[in-house]
């Protein structure tokens, strides 16, 4: 299957990836080949087959919603490229 350059750009946008022109061309070609290869799955009739949701068959694990103190908050904040006090700092997202 052949992907258009516009398809590749749209996927990159959805994935929040800035790609170079070379990368766009490379992934266009490689993804086309990979999608050709995985298209073999369409040969299988799976109309009556349930999709796998949990491979171990385990039911949802429930537990009481209890707050537990986490002592490492400062360690986590200190990993941020930019912070202000106890907050992660981001670019302005709302104009006005």
């Amino acid at each position: 299957m052949s992907l258009g350059l516009e398809d590749v750009r749209k996927i990159a946008k959805l994935a929040r990836l800035r790609l170079s022109a070379d990368e766009e061309a490379l992934y266009r070609e490689q993804m086309g080949k990979i999608l050709d290869s995985v298209a073999e799955l369409s040969r299988l009739d799976t109309a009556d087959v349930q999709p796998t949701a949990s491979v171990s068959g385990a039911a949802s694990a429930w537990r009481e919603d209890r707050a537990i103190a986490f002592p490492g908050a400062e360690k986590i904040l200190s990993l941020a490229p930019e912070r202000e006090g106890p907050y992660f700092k981001v670019k302005k997202v709302i104009e006005g």
Binding site: D7, V8, I11, A12, L14, A15, R16, L17, R18, L19, E23, L26, Y27, Q30, M31, K33, I34, L35, S37, V38, E40, L41, S42, L44, T46, V49, Q50, P51, T52, A53, S54, V55, S56, A58, S60, A61, R63, G72, K75, I76, L79, A80, P81, E82, F88, V90, K91, K92, V93
Partner: protein
């Protein structure tokens, strides 16, 4: 005497019995790394100071007369996608360079309690995506058996560290074969426990419905010992099983295989498999028969679709899991970004390597509106068929025997140009991840040119104990040479 080359069990016994100190063990292994790792490059980080401090603490504990843990003084190499508090964890990616783990992974906390000593963090394919460790953003790791060859991947650093005698035990993670395939290529034992047997809390997620942490060791008994320490329920990993009893991993190796039913899946002996690999695996099957096992051919007819299924499910889950690397809370942030959107796009575009971007793109496509049913949902349906194949097989046999990888270790660069040829390295290991069962690779021979070959043994979910006991019995019959 030297403690290099001793099993984890023998080191723990020597430390607790006073034959040698944990500090001696750590010093010897650190010296070996210093001497030999320049030619192999198994480690991203060597934890010299911390390892010696941990070892001295174990010795002090012994001096005080306290009971020591099951892995006391055992040097452990840890794949660099598993968090050790206070230690840099990179996933061998530029996007995480400088990330210092704020807490211990569950497996690390359990190893700490067992008095193990963390000797270093090992190289991997970036974010565990690859089969040769060539996708590391930092450097390539060489196969200790032949330095022109790859160690396999993605846990290539961990497998090379064990094969080179840098540690008797390493942790890896296995999403499509990333423990078993490098273990096979490096002549080590590699266990992928049953999905849910070991907590993944603190493992940086790649594909959550497939990821499993497990040990790489030189002996099957050490793999069992390691599983008994790292396995068990963790309330903070909702997929970890409350029923699995890690202590059961310690079944003794049986004296004979009388009564054992072994299946040989015909789809695993395909065209394209290296003839020396096939011969060694056929000989391994004969060893099982000699010990009394009853072998029969079985069919796993949907195995042929496993790679396609995997290369839709794993990238889809990866595209979702790796969305967290956005340059805001941790990791690399692009310098020149003007808007928030640009922070995301540039940080990710600059921080991720080619294979990671390829898989994020593929996964995003498979999950995108209009394609979800044809790709992701379809793959999850085929996954059900693959799992049912195993369920049918395990209704009539106890274990399955297959090759671990279709070929021995290959040369650097041999498969990097064509992603599909690299993906084929995992053709025999992927089905176990899709089905969530227990699977191990044990060395079963050498090629004429001296490269290790791995036998894969597969057991049904939560039959890890039976699997490990059979592996130990096989190993007793077919001792494997070690590198000096």
């Amino acid at each position: 005497m030297t403690t290099i080359g001793l099993s984890a069990a023998d080191i723990a016994a020597g430390v607790s019995g006073g034959a040698f100190s944990a500090e001696d063990v750590a010093r010897e292994h650190l010296a070996r790394i210093k001497e030999k790792d320049a030619g192999i490059r198994a480690f991203v980080t060597v934890l010299e100071e911390q390892a010696l401090a941990q070892a001295r603490a174990v010795d002090a504990k012994k001096k005080r007369g306290e009971k020591l843990g099951a892995l006391c003084g055992v040097p452990v190499a840890v794949k660099d996608n598993i968090l050790i508090e206070g230690v840099e964890t990179t996933c061998s990616s530029k996007i995480l360079k400088g990330y210092v783990a704020p807490y211990d992974a569950d497996v690390i906390a359990r190893l700490r309690k067992a008095d193990a000593v963390f000797i270093g963090k090992t190289n991997l394919d970036e974010f565990a995506m690859g089969s040769s460790t060539e996708n590391s953003a930092f450097f390539k790791t060489a196969n200790p058996w032949n330095k022109d060859c790859v160690p396999g991947g993605s846990s290539g650093g961990s497998a090379a560290a064990v094969a080179a005698g840098f540690a008797p035990l390493a942790l890896g993670s296995d999403t499509g074969g990333s423990i078993r395939q490098p273990a096979a290529l490096c002549g080590a034992v590699g266990l992928k426990p049953t999905y849910g047997a070991v907590s993944r809390r603190g493992l940086i997620a790649f594909a959550s419905s497939l990821d499993q942490i497990g040990p790489i060791t030189r002996t099957a008994a050490d793999a069992a010992l390691a599983l008994s320490v790292i396995g068990g329920h963790d309330p903070l990993d909702s997929t970890s099983s409350p029923e699995f009893d890690a202590g059961k991993a310690l079944e003794p190796a049986p004296k004979s295989f009388v009564g054992l039913r072994v299946g040989i899946p015909k789809e695993y002996f395909i065209k394209g498999i290296d003839p020396e690999v096939e011969k060694a695996v056929r000989e391994a099957i004969a060893v099982f028969e000699k010990l009394g096992a009853k072998t029969s051919e079985v069919s796993l007819p949907h195995s042929q679709y496993a790679i396609s299924t995997y290369y839709l499910i794993a990238p889809s889950e990866a595209s979702s899991n790796l969305a967290r690397f956005d340059g805001i809370r941790y990791g690399r942030r692009a310098a020149e970004a003007a808007t928030l959107e640009e922070v995301y796009e540039r940080s990710r575009g600059e921080g991720f390597g080619p294979e990671v971007k390829r898989r994020i793109m593929l996964g995003t496509y498979a999950l995108s509106s209009g394609y979800y049913d044809a790709y992701y949902a379809k793959a999850q349906r085929v996954r059900t068929l693959i799992k049912q194949d195993f369920e049918k097989a395990f209704a009539s046999v106890d274990l399955l025997l297959t090759p671990t990888a279709p070929s021995p270790a290959f040369k650097f660069g041999e498969k990097t140009k064509d992603p599909l040829s690299m993906y084929l390295s995992d053709v025999f290991t992927i089905p176990s991840n899709l089905a969530g069962n227990a699977s191990i690779s044990v060395p079963c021979g050498l090629t004429r040119s001296g490269l290790p070959i791995g036998l894969q043994i597969i057991a049904d979910q939560f039959q890890d104990g039976r699997l490990l006991a059979a592996a130990a019995a096989f190993e007793r019959e077919r001792p494997f040479p070690r590198l000096s």
